[in-house]
Structures are given as C-alpha cells and as structure tokens.
Symmetry: C4
Subunit: 375 residues, 4 copies
C-alpha cells in the first residue's frame, strides 16, 4: 500500500489503530445500554468523538497523499477510500439531521471495516472467491433450489397444523433457511410425520451443500495460497547470493520449498540442545550466533542451522536476531530433496558447515587448554 508512509508519519502504528478501534466499538456498544449511557454518557460520547477524530485525520492524511499524486478519484473509488468515508461521515450527518444520538452512533459499527484495510489475509480470501466463483454459484443455486422447494412443500404439509409457523410462504422460507444452515433456532418446528421426513431431508441436504462449499473453498485456497507464497518468496530468494549460481529452473524449485518468516529484533530463533529440523537463510537483517569466545554476526545472504540437518539433529548454538529480519526457512524434508537434486548446493553447504565445525573445535580446544569451562 503506497499510502502507508504518511499514515505512519501521522504516528498511527498498527497496534495503536487496533486500540482506537476497540475503544470506539466498546463505547458505541455501551452507549446502547440505557444504564451505562445514563451513568457514563459524557465519557462515552467523548470517546466516540475522539475515535471519530482519529479516523477523520487518518482519512485526511490518505486523501492528501492521493491529492499530491493526482489520484483523488482513484482513492475515493478504492475500497480503502470508501471505508474511510463510511467511517467518518454517517454518524455526524445523522446527528446533524437530528437523529437521536444512541441511533446515530450506531453508524460507528462501520469502523469495524477498518479491519479489512489492515488484514493481510483479506486480499487472498477475495481472490479465492473470485477464482472459484463458478462452482460457488453452482452451490448457491443448489441451496436456493432446495430452499424454495422445501419451504413450499413444508407450507403445504404443515399450514393447517401450524398456521403461525408455516401458514405463509415467507414464514416457511425462514424455517427453511434456519434448518438448511443447521442453525435450528427451534422457533418453527414441523409437527407432522410427513413434516419430519421433509425436515430430515432438508437437514441432510444442508450438510451436503455445506460440505460441497467447504470442499470448493479448500481447493481454491490451496491453489491460491501456493501462488501467493511463490510470488512473495521469489524476490527474497533473488537477494540471497547463495542461490544466484543456480539455473532458473532450480530457483523456481527452491522458491516453492522456502517459507518466509518475519522476526522482530532480539528474538531467539534456535536454542542449543533442542532438536532441529530446518535451516535458515537470511534474506534481510542480521542474526547473532552465540559461540565462544565471541558471538558471530551473520548478515543478509548468510545461512545458519545447517549443522543439525547434516549431523545428529541437535542444535549446537543459540541464535537470535540482532535486528528485525526476514528469514527463509528450509525444512528437513525439502533440504533432503534439494541436496539430492543439486549436488553443487549440497557441497557448498557441506563445506561451510565443516569450516564452522572446525573453527568451533579449535576454539574449544583453546578454551580447554586455557582452563575455561566448556559449557
């Protein structure tokens, strides 16, 4: 998102926004409870106005950023722009038109849409729905067919017995939705034997259509997730010098195997003595390997954790990030496959591992000679 920078400058960290959002929604919720509104009405109102101000400023920052690059129209038509508009204007406008405050502030519920601006997985979900639109519409059609036919049947069967619950088709449709989604409020329940049979059929259809729906989304998600991962990993892989000697086909293969991991500064990655089943490449950042006599720092393009994969799976040193880093994880399973297919890679990792072990042993020998306690 190109507008992140001005927002950041305005001081709105992601965590801060969540706090404002939570306060705003809590205040709005409390406002609808008469007792609370009476007791703390002023405070609630003030909180709501503060949150509104926050979102107004946030929207304004984004607007100005768009105005500078002459993309105001694009911004206002974008999802982000619409969310900003919906967050700021409805509540004040309603108040201005004389709507009761308790009702006007209900529009603050629209602030929850701010979550969509922040959530990293949202775009992915949208793409899955797009990708699988056809079969999903097929399931929806199936759902509607069952809905209409079963509610007409139920209306015919039960209308004499229960004129309240099944006497009209709209009432019957409500029963069908409640049943087909297996929600089952129990406010409308068939009483006749025939009604029970139709009801059973609808429930079983409900879990069948639901199963289809889930199956479609699972399939679409698996495909899209593989794709998204590849695209985000590709750029990082090209930054690791170690991989640059490989031919394009091998790079594509490796990219499918690696997983990204964003780690904040001062975070432990590896603990000595634990079982290790993966190695790490540093795409960006720096880590500190806690070896004797002095810790070693590894920067972008280096790798670590390979000793556990080559040897007896036990980590030989603590490793922690010294600054926020992006790591690429290669699991044991993929490591085996990779080194089997690309012997030059296997040799390079092996050589580095030997160099490190030798160095370590020499240091340890020195320590022992000089009387230091090996830990």
């Amino acid at each position: 998102m190109h507008s992140t920078t001005p927002i950041r400058r305005f001081g709105a960290s992601s965590a801060g926004r969540f706090v404002v959002l939570a306060i705003g929604l809590a205040a709005m919720t409390a406002y609808t409870v008469p007792d609370l509104a009476r007791a703390a009405g002023g405070w609630l109102s003030a909180s709501l106005w503060c949150c509104l101000a926050y979102f107004a400023v946030e929207g304004f920052v984004r607007y100005r950023a768009a105005a500078k690059t002459g993309e105001v129209r694009n911004y206002l038509a974008s999802a982000s722009g619409i969310v900003d508009l919906l967050a700021v204007f409805p509540a004040p406008i309603a108040l201005a038109f004389g709507v009761a405050p308790a009702t006007s502030w209900l529009f603050a519920a629209l602030w929850i849409l701010k979550l969509a601006q922040n959530s990293p997985g949202f775009a992915l979900l949208g793409r899955v729905f797009m990708l699988e639109a056809k079969p999903l519409l097929g399931v929806l059609a199936l759902f509607l067919i069952i809905l209409v036919l079963s509610s007409a049947t139920m209306h015919m069967i039960e209308r004499d017995d229960q004129p309240g619950a099944f006497g009209t088709l709209p009432a019957s449709l409500w029963w069908a939705v409640v049943t087909l989604t297996t929600t089952g409020y129990g406010d409308e329940v068939p009483h006749t034997v025939l009604g029970h049979l139709v009801g059973s059929f609808v429930m079983i259809c409900g879990i069948a259509t639901f199963g289809l729906w889930t199956g479609i989304l699972a399939t679409g998600f698996a495909a899209e997730s593989r794709r998204a991962n590849f695209i985000q990993t590709w750029d990082l892989v090209s930054k690791v010098p170690f991989f640059q000697t490989l031919d394009p086909s091998a790079i594509a293969e490796i990219t499918h195997m690696l997983r990204r991991l964003e780690v904040p500064a001062k975070t432990a990655i590896i603990r000595r003595g634990k079982v290790g089943d993966c190695m790490y490449f540093i795409a960006d950042g720096e880590v500190e390997v806690d070896v004797k006599p002095a810790p070693v720092r590894l920067g972008s393009g280096s790798f670590f954790g390979e000793l556990a994969l080559l040897g007896d799976s036990i980590r030989t040193a603590n490793v922690a990030t010294s600054q926020a880093s992006t790591l690429l994880i290669l699991d044991l399973a993929d490591f085996r496959t990779l080194t089997a297919h690309h012997s030059e890679l296997a040799r390079a990792i092996d050589a580095e591992a030997k160099r490190r072990t030798t160095e370590n042993l020499q240091v340890r020998e020195l320590q022992i000679r000089s009387g230091a306690t090996p830990s």
Copy 2:
C-alpha cells in the same frame, strides 16, 4: 447447450430470465400471505400468469428446436426438458382441477429449477457426486447406523421420563436427525444423565461424519476441477500462435498453468502504476493498450502484461478490452517455472518485451523533444 441459439433469438438474455424468475417467485410468495393476496391479488395473479407465459414460450422454443432435428424424445427425457415441463404444466392443471389458486400457484416453486438450467457449476457438482459415490454412500451408511442405534437407545432411556418426546421410535428418530446434523431445534432434549451421555456421543459423531463427508467432497472436487479446467483451456491454447511451436508435452504443461477469464467489452484489465503479478494471452477478442502517441490494439494470439513480470512489477500502461474477449492468465509463479523449463519461450517473450520498451522510449523521446508533457 445446442439450444441456446433459438432461446437467444426469442430475446431471453440470461439477466432477463433471472428477473422473470425473481418476479414469479416473489409473486408466488406474496400470494400465500392473506393480507397481501387480498390487497394485490389481481396484480399477483397477473404477474404469475405472465411469468408462466414466458416459461411456456421458452419451453416451446426449445421444443421446436428439438423437433427440427428430430430429437423430441431426447429433449423430453433430458433434464432441461423435464424442468420445462415442470415449470409450465402443474399450476394450470391444478387450477383446471379446481384446486384453490393459493395452493395451485405453489407449484410455481418449481420455477426455481430453472436455475439448474443456467448454472455453469452445476454439471461439475454432479460429476463430483458421481465420482465419489462409493465413499459418500459409505458415509451415508455410517450416518444411518448411528441414527437408528442412537434413537433406539434414547427411546429405551428416556421413554418413561418424556413419553411425548421419546415415547415412540419415530419421535426418537426425529430427535436423532436433528441432533446428528447438529441442527438442534431443542424441541426434544434428553433429561437424564444417561440420555446426556448418549446425546453427547451422537453430537460428536455428527461432526465426525460431517467432517468425513466434507473431506470426501473436497478431494473429489479438487480432482474434477483440475480436469474441467484443462479441457476448457486446451482449445483456447491451441488458438494462440505463440504456443503452436511448442511440443505437445509443453502444451499440456502450459494448459495446466493457464486460467481463463471472460471479459466484457470496455473493461480495464491493467492499470498503470499498480503492482502486476501476471501476464495475459488473448485467446479471443481485442484489447487496447493506452500508450502515447496513439493507443495500440492487440488481437487474438497476442500477449501483454509481460513487462511487469520481467521488470520491477509495476504496470507501465493501461490496458482495456475493446470488445468482449477471452484471456488466458499466466501467473508470476507459473511464468517463472515455464520460462525456466522452456528457454525458447522465454527468449520469444523477452524479445517482444524489448521491442516494445524500445518503441516506447523512442516515442517518449520524440514527445519530450517536441515539448509534449510525459504523463
């Protein structure tokens, strides 16, 4: 569907049919509500007759088309023919036999089946059910076994305590269906401790069988969807001259990677300045690339959007369809894999991209020299 053409000639666009269907179903629903029927009975009745007439004409067009090719029997036995018959005849016949209008028009619920004629994903869903028939029947058997055994047990446990709800086996079966599908109306609930234990077991079995069901459908759907996609894409791929130099094995590989996209005329495909992660081949139709000094048109067999994949991922021009087109999308992940495996393809795309960039730069130079503002 070979009968689409006469229907189209009759003027029934897909959107039009949906409107007729929606009006018909709404009128039918309103007809069952006494107040509405009394207030607007005439209008509702008229709407219903109009919709019926529409479906009758539609069915007749299809019938005549079948009659011309001597396939009347095939048509009447086909799903489409049966839907047409069910849409047209039941309601008038019921009226003719003197059934009350409010009841007769309930048969209009069958119009919803028209959705099945139109829905593109329906055939796919049907194939998945066929493909996985054996394990699905296994789950159904499991479902029935749990149903019968649990309801007999519950009848034994609770019949003395609640003769109304569990006094007979049919009542007990109704409880079991409502519980096993996790619908849970709450009209029949066990009260004894033993009943609670059995009930808990049934609920857990319910989500287990449901999980199996979903798992089976997900598996079947993934396989069938891959297949359906290949078959529909294959013909389009063979129309793109660019791919015709490849050997069959490479074409099969590419076909698995491409996704079809049907785009109406005058629709934006690419926007300048956005991040791009795919390129497009035109299987059918025409697009307009908005470059200076004059827009360029690309027809069937051309490709575009490759610059973002080769360069810094930023789109360099707006592209929109000038007529309804069918595009084939190649994602970044697959683009990498493909060019890695087929260097001749990589070279061809590269050469074309260079040609385009050079041309563009020359134009831009000319513009600058001639004092035009580069946008």
Copy 3:
C-alpha cells in the same frame, strides 16, 4: 469377501437384503407406536419374525461356509460374524427372558449394522481413521480440554443465576457439549454478560476444532483414496494388451490416470452428436458400436471413443454395452499428457483411429452410391 458365493446361492441379492432390512426396521419402528401396534400388531410381529428368520438363515449360511474351511473361530471374531450374531440373538433372548415384546424388538435396531457388511466405502473410511489416528486424537484432546475448562468456568459464573442449568458440573458439561458441537438446543443458555463472553468463545472454538477435524479427514481421505484407486485399477490395466508393451514406469503412470467404471449390460456409454471428453478401454466385457451397415462389437482389451479426442470433440457413433462390462476411462486432460510423454502410444491410437475413420468413410460412400440415406 470369500463368503459371497454361498450367500448368493441362498438367493440373497444385494437389493433383496435392502428390502428385508427396510421392512424389518419399519416394522420395528411401527411397533413402538401404540396406535399402530394395536391396529396391526400381528402383522408387525410376523414381519419381524420373518426378517429375523432371513438374517438367521443368512448368518447360518456364512457359518457353514466358515465351518467347511475350518475357520469358524475367525468368522465369529470377524466384524461380519459379530454383526450376524447381534442381528439374530438379542431379540429372541430378550423375549425368552420375558421382556415385553415392544422392548425386546428394539434390538432389531442392530439389523442396521448389516449396512456395514455391504457398504463398499466402509473399509476405506476405516483406513482413513487409522491413518490419521494421531492428529485426530490431538483434536479430541483439544475438544476435551475446551469442554472441561469452559464448563467449569461457566459453572462458576452462572451457578447463582441459574442453579437448574449450571448449578452442577454435569449440567454445565452438557451445555458445553451442546455448544461446542454448535448443536445449540437452547435448553441451557447463559444469561450474564460474562457467561455470554465465555459462550461466544466456546462457539468459536467449536467451529475451529471442527475445521481442524475436517481438514485432517480431508487430507487423509485424499491420500487413501488415491491408493485404493491405484490398487483396484492396476489389475485391470494389466489385462489390456494395448498397455502391455509399455515399460513399468509408464504403466504406473497410466494406472494413476485411469478411472474404473462398472457398467451393466445394455447401457449407453456414448451418444452420437454429444461432446466427448474421454476415451474408454474395455478391461472386461463387450460393447456394441452402432455404425452402418452393421454394428461392430469390441471385446476386452479394445478401446473406443478416441475419435472425439483426436478430432472436433463430437461423438461420431452410439456405443452401448452388450454385456456387463468394466471400462477404464481416460480423460482428455490425461490423454494429452499421456500421448505427449509416450509417442508410441499416441501413434498406436492414431493408427487405429485412422483405420476406423477410413473404414467408416468407405462404408458411407457405399451407402451414398447405393442410395441409402446417411443418418
């Protein structure tokens, strides 16, 4: 199942067993309804005894078959033997001990287990549960942890407010099961704000654990289903002479692609004029191709339907089975991949297709010369 033959000899077709089972269960169900039992008690009782006799004979046939091969112990310990015992003995024993008939006959519910003897997908489902036992137990543990902790919490929160529904831990556990499985009877509902928060958390945990459960079963099912298919297809492939020239690696590849289809006699496989997207190999049986002047019969080892894949996808003749047959289906997608990888196969299919087309054209020419109407 090695004991199928004696059962068949006894005359028990699969459909017949289902009818007996359905009658038995219906009679048992009716027996628990006082009005029906009073009105038709004699008939119901007679039906039940008949069904029991049927299952007793069936069990006895199996027992004798086992006795002949000296495997009585194996039979009695097998699932099939236990089902036979449970179907025959409990009801008469209960009657003999003087239990009321309405209660004794409830043991007839055990007859539903006969479904497990017949269902082809049952073994597969069992294998999936075995294969994924570890993660499924993990989910079960998670389920139990949430169950116990949430019910203890809810008991603490709501016991003063609702001593009936949450006053004891068993009552609270019942609420937790009903909520965690998203059944939601509504017989016990939290009333306090804190109770609502805990309840919301439990519901969301419910769909999360359920999602995990489904995901695990989907994964296990996909793997097991692929395996089962391979094993059943392998033997059939080895019967088709066409494939015998291939090397083992290619045969393994083909086996993964083919799908089995059991077709009864006199069933249409292909209809002229329809779109075709697969070809067929005959593993066992015979089909009749309806070409002029006289239909051609193809036996085991032949293939058909390849013309649509090579040409314009339109079927050129009707094909129907002349006896019960087992076909192997090769879809267009796999056909492309296969012929791309194995050119000798492509050539063989091509040669046969050309031979057939030529023959067909010659026949047609003859027809035209002799004045026959080509259809």
Copy 4:
C-alpha cells in the same frame, strides 16, 4: 521429551496417568452435585487429594530432572512446567484462603491440560495454526466485521419489537455470535420480515466463513502432515541396510512413500490367505514368520510381505511381531512406482522373494516325502 525417563522411573505409565486423570475429573464433577457430595463427600475429597498428590509428585520429578541439568528456568517457562504448576497449586491455595471446597476443587478442571502434555498430535496442530496464521486472521477479521455490522443492523430493526432480545447492542451481539456460528439456541430470534432477511444473510455468511476456515486448515494440515511424516520416517529409512545402496534422490523419494507403524510385541501383522496390498520393512524390532518346519525370525533391516505384491496378492504365511517393533509400510501403488523407477531395487526384492519361495517349496517337498500333512 527429555524428561520422560525420570517420569517412567517414578512408575507413571501413560495408561496410569489417564486413569488418575479420569478419576480426578470424575471426583471433581461429582463434588459439584449436592446429593453426591453429601453421600460420598469423604471419598470424593480423598480421591481428589490423592490425584493432586500424584500430579505433585509427577511435577516434582520433572522439576528435579530439570534442576540436575540446571534448566529450572527453562522448565518453569515451558508449556509442560506451566501445566504442572496449574495442576498442583491453585486448588490448595484456594482452600488455604478459605474458599469453599466445592469451589476450590473446581480448579481441578485444570488437570485436563495434562492431556496436552501427552497428546502426540498437539504439536502438529499448533504448527498448522502458526503456518496459516495470516489467512486465519483474515477469516477472523471477516467474522468480526459480519458480527458487528449484523448486530448493529439487527438492533436497529428489532429493538422496538423485542426490547429484551435486541434492545441493547450487547444482547444483539450475543444473537449474532449464536447465529453466525450456526449454534442457534433460539433464545433470541428475529420476528420482523426485515429481521428474517438479515438473519438469513448472517446464517449463510456463517457457513461461508466456516467453509473458508476449514479450507485453510485443511490446506495447512496437508502440507504440515507431509513434512512431519518425512522427518520422522527419514531416520528410520537410514537404518534399513537395503536402502543404503540408493542415491540420496531415491532415498528422499522412498521416504515420502513409506508409512511408519509402531507395533507391540506378539501382534499379528499378516494372516495367511488374506489379500495383501503392501510389504513391510523392519526398521526396529523382530518378527516371526510362521513357516514350516520351523518359524523364521527376521530382524531389523529385513523385509517381508513382498510375495503378495509380486504374485497373486494372497498372503502365504502368518507373520507376527516377537517384540515391540517399528515397521515401514510400502503400499502396492508405491511399490509399483518404486520398482518401475529403480530397477536395482526391483531386482533385489525379486531375488530375495525367489530364494524364499524355492526354500519353501523344498521344505514342502520334504514334508510330503516324509508323510507330513501340508497345511
């Protein structure tokens, strides 16, 4: 877990722990039922103290083991340490502070967390949640958005009609959670037509988000499960001398195909006369093949069951473990693929199979000559 040994020494088998856990939880549950507590209060209390003592000793053993290696801090911060603390201290502390026993012992519910220490699939589930954190958070955001917007809308629609159920936003939110998770208690149900429409939309959204959630977990689980299996199988494969002649790429391929099976001593693996569809490699332990004249024992590194795969799929001998063993299973499908790709492996298995068959035949001939009855 490095602390298993001291626990074992303390005599706490896994089954024993489950029994203690079950007794403890049952006693705690009974303690909350006034009648039971009055009748058997002393016994319940004693049981609870015993279970507490057991868990205290267990925790102490673990603590001492950690103290010996100087890792007390690590232990107390680990999940295992926290569970130990929560199991032992809360209940006595509450009692010491004078809380009523019935309430204090509710903390015994925390004992259920002991399941997490033992469950093998737990770590796997945790990893899946980590791996798919981003899209799962996306679904959660979607869930929250629907929740807040729908409850605000419902509050607006229904508050005049049902001030109790929808009069405040918290009440409305409770309805939304109950509906969106398809739990459907039925304690709050919309009555107006508009309310029904919104409610229907919420239910359908409920199953949609749920489907997404399941799809994501299924995808993540499939990936993680493949990985976990590879890592655990890899070490076992390297112990089988038979595979050591293969190149690394082939070993990686085989590792993906094999499934581990832990078998206790004296367990039947293969029964003569059954259909066999897999062969076994012994990674660890010993099996006894029941051949005439004397049973043969096969130790680590041997394989068996290959005859059924090479011949007519019928097992020719009984095989049972003579001690607890770890077997690697190779299914028919993978066996075919493997021997097709690696002819040297195929030859080795074939040679061994021939040797065994010949030996067997010779023995049988001897038996026949010497008048023994072949069985």
